[in-house]
Point group: C2
Chain length 173, copies 2
DNA sequence: TCACCTTAGGTTATAATGTTGCAATTCTAC
DNA sequence: GTAGAATTGCAACATTATAACCTAAGGTGA
């Protein structure tokens, strides 16, 4: 359970380094473990289908489209019509196990499902990896905006694009 | 040209007050005027179709879907197939005259097309109005994130939902 | 255990959103 | 006024998401 933060990528501080070599199996295992616990807590059923969809979403750190999942599920003998995958994704979204990135109509695993947090991502245009933005700064922004504009914020999504640290440094070489 | 800031809603400071009674004709006129100037500057052609699409987008402060515009254009004798409206919208997006709000697949007029700025909106779930978020705070956030994560941000979109100031105060009564 | 109820998933069809490719037209610059 | 570029018309199609209805599986209390 204790391990160097280089080994996986589930901790928030590391989320922007997802390009770096890491033990991705551990990412998946952690995500799955979190999911099991969360479902127990909430009395929700993590069925085979739902679990498999979660695993597939977690195969990479790149956002994945719903329709990309269909053939993968089919290959494994699952039914694979759109409603099937959308229902599974809706379930996972509801529990905060995945996020939706609406600017590219794609889904990605959440690495902090245990704690509610604003939905914010940085997507590298080079490598395609997406990483969550630090909740602290997003919350700070929201607080400021609420104070200055008199609004009440209930939901937020932030989607940034550009070059990640790794791709930036490669580009300079 | 000089007028009380209550009269229209084109200034950034007022953008969150778009619910309030205001001279909306002036909003449209200002937007159109900005568009004409910007097109002249850039050597771009603000054709009848493009201008009309811009006006239609500006009819309200609520984001409008591409497919909502089609029948409106048809009514006025314009061709109205999806590519027509999408091409016009793409043109307007390119020039920064409208923004796209991807979480709801909708478009909205930009009130500061003269200055490049981050794409950020607050959308009230009650009245449906959307207003731009202050560029200053968004830029500050971007700067922080670049510094702390080592990323290079090239594009950003922020989409917040909740209750606007007006709807909040009505809710309390 | 059984009957009942609720939840999950299968299946078909369709809605909503967005794009491609090519022909026809209009505009602009020379 | 003609060539080339930009714009629009038009038909087809691609992608993303949902509706409606039914069957199957799991959970619960008598």
């Amino acid at each position: 359970m204790t391990q160097s933060s280089q080994d996986n990528c589930s901790s928030e501080q590391d989320s922007h380094k997802t390009h770096a070599k890491h033990n991705h199996d551990r990412c998946i295992a952690t995500a799955l473990n979190d999911a099991v616990l969360l479902c127990e807590q909430r009395g929700a059923r993590l069925t085979q289908l739902r679990q498999r969809v979660l695993e597939l979403v977690w195969q990479t750190h790149k956002p994945v489209g719903a329709y990309e999942l269909l053939p993968l599920l089919a290959k494994e003998g699952f039914n694979s019509a759109p409603p099937t995958v959308y229902r599974a994704l809706d379930f996972l979204l509801e529990l905060g196990l995945v996020h939706r990135i609406s600017s590219i109509n794609a889904f990605i695993g959440c690495n902090q499902p245990k704690h509610e947090h604003p939905n914010g991502f940085f997507i590298c245009r080079q490598c395609g990896n997406a990483s969550e933005l630090p909740a602290l700064q997003l919350r700070e922004l929201a607080k400021q905006l609420e104070a200055s504009l008199g609004i009440t914020i209930e939901g937020e999504t932030h989607e940034l694009t550009g070059l990640c640290a790794s791709c930036s440094s490669k580009a300079q070489k």
